[in-house]
Amino acid sequence: MAETVLSSGEKIFILHGIDADFRNDGRRRCEYRSMEIETKLMPQTHGSARLHIGNTDILVGIKVELDVPHADKPNEGKLEFFVDCSATATPAFEGKGGDDLATEISNVLTAAYQTRNAFDLKTLCILPHKKCWKIYVDVLILQCGGNLFDAVGIAVKAALNSTEIPKITAATLDGGEPDIELSDDSYDCIQLDTSNYPIIITLCKIGDNYIVDPTLEEEMCSTSSIVMSMLPNGKISSVVKLGYGSIQFNTFTKMLQMGEIIGLRLNKTLMDVLKEENQFGRQRRIFGFLK
C-alpha cells in the first residue's frame, strides 16, 4: 500500500474492465488471485500461518495461556484477536498510524467468531470459575496489496487449524485453589475443532458491479463494500459495510448471495489445502520468508 495515487483516467479504465468482466490482471469478477499458505512456521507459537496473496502478506501467530474465566461467564474460555499493522507495509502505519485499520479488522474477526455456532468458548474451559484457556490470535500485517479482510480471515482460520493446545492430564481443586497438570509430552496435544470456523469474504462494489479479492488499485475505485463472514454450514455470522458509499437494497441481497456461494467454495478449497499440507507431517520443510 506504499502510496498509490490513481488518476481519474486510470480509475475509469479499471471500471470499464470490470464492466466487461475482464480485470486488469486478467481475472473475472468473482475470481481470486492465487494464494500461498504455510502453517506451523513459527516454533515459538502454539499455532501459526502465513498467507501471501498478490502483494498482501499476513502472518498469524497463536499463543495459548492459562487464565481465569470472566466472573459473569464462569464456564467459558477466552478468545482474543489482536491485529497489528506493521510499518513495513507502508510508512503511514508508523507509530499509531495503523491502529484505526487494525481495530476495524479485529472488530470484524471478533464479530465473525462470536457465535457459538462458529467457536464454542465452552471448549476452552478447564475448571469453571477457576481456570480456562485464553487464546490470543495475533495478526501481523506485513504488506497490504488489497483484500486484507479476506486474507486475514483465511490466515486466522489456517493458524487456528494448526494450533496445538497442551493436553491437560489432571485438573483438580485443591482447597479452593485450582491445580493443573500439563502433559509432559510436547507432542501430546489437542487440536481445535475448526470444522465450522468462519472465513471472511469482501464484496467490493465498483460501479454497478461487485467483485471479490480486489487489488489495491481496485479498492481505490470502490465507494462501498460488504464484508461478510461465512460459516461452512451456510450461515452468515457477521456483515458490515465499509466505505463511504451506500448500496441499493437489491444489490445488497445479490451481493450476499454471491458471497455465500463464493464463501462456501473458498472454505472447501482452504480445508483441502490444509489437509494436504498436514499430510506432509512433522518432517515437512518450513520455508517461511526464505522461499
Binding site: 472488530n107 457465535t115 457459538r116 455470522s237 456483515v239 458490515v240 459495510k241 451506500s246 450476499l256
Partner: protein
C-alpha cells in the same frame, strides 16, 4: 493497570452484585416466552419514538431520542479545519464518537472507550458518510458526539437516528435523513426493535442446535433514496432469513422517516413563530 491520577479512584477490584446468586436459589434462567414480549408489544412492533431537537444549547445541533427506555443524546458542532497531516483534503470528514454513560448498562462502563464503543463509533461514521454532502466542506471536519444515557436495546439504531437529526439540526448539508432499526432473530422469531434482554437472548445460541438462526441485524438506510447506508449483523443466520429480515427493516426505516421529518419541521416552525 496504572491508576488514573486524574480521577478519584475507588478500590482496585469491585464486582457488580448481579453476578451473585439470589437468596432463594430458583432456576435463575427464566425461559423466555416468545409469544408475549415483556412490554406487551407484538413481535413486529417497534417501541414508541420520542425525539427532541436542540436540547444542547451550546452545540450547533443536537437531538435527544427515546425508544422505550433507551435514551440517547447526540450533539454536532461547527466544522473544524483538519489538521493537515496528509495535505489538503478535497472532501470533508465526519468524526463520530460513541460512548455509553458509565451507568447506562447492566455492567458499569469504564470511562475510556472500550472496543465495542470504538466499533460503534466507526459504524456511526460509515452510516452518516453516505448521507452528508462531504464535498460541501472540503478540508473540514464535523464532530458528532453520541452519548447513550440508558441502554435498553437497539441503542446503535437510536444513536444513528439521533445523529442524523442532529446533523440536520446543525444545518450540515445532507442528501437525506438516515433512519435505522434493529431486529433480533431467534429461530423463527423476528423481534423488531429488541430490548437489551431480548438482544442478549438473540446473541446466544441454544445448546445442541447447530442449524439454528440467531443474531441481531441493525440496518441503516436513506429511505428517501432507497439506499442502504450501513448493515451490521452479528450472530449466525442464513441468507434467506437475512433477506427477509432486511426487508422488514427497510420497511420500518421508511415508516420512521416521517417522525424525524416532522420533528425537524416542528422545530423550524417554532423558531419561525418566535421570531414573529
Amino acid at each position: 493497570m496504572p491508576v488514573d491520577q486524574r480521577r478519584i479512584n475507588g478500590p482496585e477490584v469491585s464486582v457488580p452484585y448481579h453476578i451473585y446468586s439470589d437468596f432463594d436459589e430458583k432456576s435463575d434462567k427464566v425461559k423466555h416466552d416468545f409469544s408475549k414480549r415483556s412490554d406487551k408489544r407484538t413481535n413486529s412492533e417497534m417501541r414508541k419514538i420520542f425525539l427532541k431537537i436542540g436540547i444542547v444549547s451550546q452545540a450547533k445541533g443536537s437531538a435527544y431520542i427515546e425508544m422505550g427506555n433507551t435514551k440517547v443524546v447526540c450533539s454536532v458542532f461547527d466544522p473544524r479545519e483538519l489538521s493537515n497531516k496528509n495535505g489538503y483534503c478535497t472532501q470533508g470528514e465526519i468524526y463520530c464518537e460513541f460512548k455509553f454513560a458509565p451507568f447506562s448498562c447492566q455492567k458499569r462502563k469504564i470511562h475510556q472507550q472500550n472496543a465495542e464503543e470504538k466499533q460503534y463509533s466507526l459504524i456511526l461514521q460509515r452510516t452518516l458518510e453516505p448521507a452528508v454532502c462531504l464535498h460541501e466542506f472540503p478540508n473540514f471536519q464535523v464532530d458528532v458526539y453520541v452519548m447513550v444515557l440508558d441502554n435498553a436495546g437497539s441503542s446503535l439504531a437510536a444513536a444513528i437516528m439521533a445523529a442524523s437529526t442532529a446533523l440536520a439540526n446543525a444545518g450540515v448539508p445532507m442528501f437525506g435523513l438516515v433512519t435505522a432499526s434493529t431486529i433480533g432473530i431467534y429461530g423463527n422469531h423476528y423481534l423488531m426493535d429488541p430490548t437489551d434482554t431480548e438482544e442478549a437472548i438473540c446473541n446466544t445460541q441454544p445448546d445442541k442446535e447447530d442449524d439454528f438462526n440467531h443474531g441481531i441485524i441493525t440496518l441503516a438506510s436513506l429511505p428517501q433514496h432507497n439506499q442502504i447506508s450501513e448493515v451490521f449483523l452479528i450472530g449466525s443466520i442464513d441468507t434467506n432469513t437475512i433477506k427477509q429480515a432486511t426487508e422488514m427493516l427497510t420497511a420500518a426505516n421508511k415508516d420512521i422517516c416521517p417522525v424525524l421529518q416532522q420533528c425537524l419541521v416542528k422545530t423550524i416552525m417554532k423558531l419561525h413563530n418566535e421570531k414573529k
